[in-house]
């Protein structure tokens, strides 16, 4: 099995009920979804014998699938992901057409509809209070002898209405008190206590999404708000970041549920990105240096 399989969350937008525009070609589109973001770590064979054996076997075909649980039937559905990170039908009508790889492929509309029906059939009045739907990206190796699952990357699918408004929330420095130390304490040390976060951030975001209605004149016109958490953290730390967002508590409040999106590079790239922003504020007391290829931090 491959280690280090991670994925960011997906946002699936439900366009049913929106006003039709005569000149708008998107009237035919009912559902839409962001591109898929996942990472499967490098595969290492366990022995020299395995490596020699792999060299004599015809190369397998690798396919990534989005696997979800169909809440209607109890079955497991899997949708192949194209080379452009888009959802395709469960049983594609054409196979082996390499010309398709060079053409951008949008999400297959039938696949999107089937996915939505499988996830939300039991909750037609879903709101932002509804739970996110767990799913997995699965890397499968196919040979003439059968299929082998090489890795699984758990993630969540958030179904939002087209009328929902989005609030983008950065993580390090915005929820946590500092960019680098916030990352170090919460992602590396996995310390999810509130002391590493700005005071009041959890109740504020909770009340922004779950605000009471009918208490002021403007509340009836305030749209439904969905928080989206955007981070510079590398994708390998997505589980630790999700844990932070799930477990952070302040008084009786928790952070509102929302998809997590982030950086697709590695840890070195994170510090490269972070250090490039430090000409705006005073430089942190962290010193970053390398020693024989290892990235070291001094605080």
């Amino acid at each position: 099995m491959i280690s280090g399989c991670t994925a960011y969350d997906l946002i699936l937008v439900d366009g049913r009920g929106r006003e039709a525009h005569p000149d708008d070609d998107s009237n035919t589109t009912v559902f839409s979804m962001g591109a898929c973001m996942f990472r499967f770590g490098s595969y290492t064979s366990s022995s020299d014998d395995d490596r020699r054996m792999m060299m004599t076997i015809p190369p397998p075909r690798y396919t990534v699938y989005l696997v979800v649980h169909d809440r209607r039937t109890g079955d497991t559905l899997r949708f192949p992901i194209s080379a452009h990170n888009t959802l395709q039908q469960q049983q594609p009508t054409t196979t082996g057409d390499s010309s398709l790889l060079s053409q951008p492929q949008p999400h297959d509309p039938a696949a999107l509809q089937q996915l939505v029906e499988a996830l939300t059939w039991s909750s037609p009045d879903r709101t932002v209070d509804g739970p996110p739907y767990p799913a997995n990206f699965v890397l499968v190796s196919s040979t003439e002898h059968g299929e082998t699952i090489l890795g699984m990357a758990p993630m969540r699918i958030f179904v939002v209405l087209h009328s929902t408004s989005l609030a983008i929330v950065d993580v390090d420095g915005t929820i946590t008190t500092s960019t680098l130390s916030g990352f170090w304490n919460t992602a590396v040390r996995q310390d999810y206590s509130i002391r590493h976060c700005h005071a009041g951030v959890v109740p504020f975001l909770h009340q922004l999404v779950h605000r009471p209605t009918g208490t002021n004149a403007s509340s009836s016109t305030t749209p439904t708000i969905q928080c989206i958490y955007l981070t510079n953290r590398p994708i390998t730390y997505v589980d630790a970041t999700r844990s932070l967002l799930n477990e952070l508590r302040e008084d009786i409040y928790t952070l509102p549920k929302g998809p997590l999106l982030g950086f697709t590079g590695n840890l070195a790239g994170v510090f490269q990105v972070g250090l490039s922003c430090h000409d705006v504020y005073a430089v942190d007391t962290w010193r970053v240096h390398t020693d024989k290829g290892a990235l070291l931090l001094d605080y």
Binding site: M33, G34, A35, S163, D170, T174, L230
Partner: protein, 122 residues
């Protein structure tokens, strides 16, 4: 060791555009109706959010002392009416220019009750 030479604001803007904005645009939802607010801690965040379509006065910048600034300071050109109402401004060319948009200050940050009132007002 590999380094990714990606600027933070470019990465965030690309992520917002490709993974968040595009699904709504595909359904014909106007960009102005998609975003409600953006919270960040650097001017690079403000630059990325503004490029993605969040109105400047709906962007909130938090500093290390937990103070929050709304980016609602209007940019007034010579001869322009200084009493112009709060409105979105044109996209700026560099993240550092967003320093000039820091306006309304919420000294106690997330604990300030005026912050929620400000955000929820039309």
């Amino acid at each position: 060791m590999d380094f990714y030479h990606v600027n933070a604001h470019e990465f965030k803007f690309q992520t917002l555009e490709q993974y968040v904005l595009q699904p709504f645009v595909d359904l014909g939802v106007p960009t102005k109706d998609i975003w409600y607010a953006g919270f960040g801690n650097t001017l690079y965040d403000m630059y990325a959010y503004h490029r993605a379509g969040i109105a400047a006065y709906r962007m909130f910048l938090i500093d290390k002392k937990s103070r929050i600034y709304a980016c609602d300071a209007t940019i007034v050109s010579p001869g322009e009416d200084d009493n112009c109402s709060k409105r979105d401004v044109a996209k700026l060319d560099h993240p550092k220019q967003y320093e000039s948009l820091k306006g309304t200050l919420f000294v106690t940050g997330y604990l300030d009750p005026d912050l929620m009132t400000y955000i929820l007002q039309e």
